[in-house]
């Protein structure tokens, strides 16, 4: 991983069109501003990871789904 040291109001440029700016620092909270093209999705990492994991679990739904859902329908 590339490691860079930045101060408030300093930025990092990624490629042609992504800029990440340190807006402020307050204790252990760092506020970042991100400028990126619209087609680039930006997420808090833990939320994106949670969705990846949930998709993984969801794709493992039981193969005998018919029985499961049919039981629900009848009840």
């Amino acid at each position: 991983m590339l490691v860079l040291t930045r101060k408030p109001n300093e930025s990092i440029q990624i490629g042609e069109d992504i800029e990440i700016k340190v807006l402020s620092i307050d204790g252990d909270q760092i506020k970042l501003g991100i400028d990126a093209p619209r087609h680039v999705d930006i997420h808090r990492k833990e939320i994106y990871t949670a969705i990846q994991q949930e998709n993984n679990s969801a794709s493992q739904s039981p193969i005998n789904l018919f029985e499961t859902l049919n039981i629900v329908k009848k009840s």
């Binding site: 619209r38 969705i51 998709n55 039981p62 193969i63 789904l65 018919f66 859902l69």
Partner: protein
């Protein structure tokens, strides 16, 4: 064309039924083409999101408004642009269900609904910024409490 599916065996589909996910789904980035198959011929809140290229990969989708009548969110401009959405009428929204046993433990991912432009055949699993929506909501919670169990 014929495809192999996780839940229905071999299924005949037509090209224009294929929904393209340009970025795949989180965790499944290389899966760009899916079809939506109704779970049964009768009216059902359940559908299957079946990968066209990977027979074993399928998700169970639910109609969110059946399970969560108050469910609502706004699509960002970047999403409406990506999905080329002109009007609300051409949009379908599904939630991905994680089926658990017993079925009462089944959860829905309200944080990341699957949004589809039906006319254009393009879709995206959208990650919402709403904090009240999480990746696991019990779909039976209301039903259970109503029946006083």
């Amino acid at each position: 064309m014929k495809i192999q599916t996780r839940y229905f065996g071999e299924v005949q589909i037509s090209e224009d039924e294929i929904v393209k996910f340009k970025q795949g789904l989180p965790g499944f980035n290389i899966e760009k083409e899916f079809v939506i198959l109704p779970f049964s011929e009768e009216e059902t809140p359940y559908h299957i999101l079946q990968s066209v290229s990977t027979p074993s990969l399928a998700f169970v989708l639910g109609n969110p408004f059946v399970f969560f009548p108050d469910y609502e969110f706004e699509l960002s401009e970047s999403v409406t642009e990506l999905l080329e959405i002109q009007s609300e009428k051409e949009v379908a929204v599904y939630i991905i269900l994680t089926i658990n046993e017993p079925f009462e433990k089944t959860t829905a991912n309200l944080k990341a609904p699957v949004v589809i432009n039906l006319n254009k055949g393009i879709g995206k699993q959208v990650v919402l910024n709403k904090e009240e929506y999480e990746t696991k909501h019990f779909i039976m919670k209301e039903a259970v409490s109503k029946e006083g169990r």
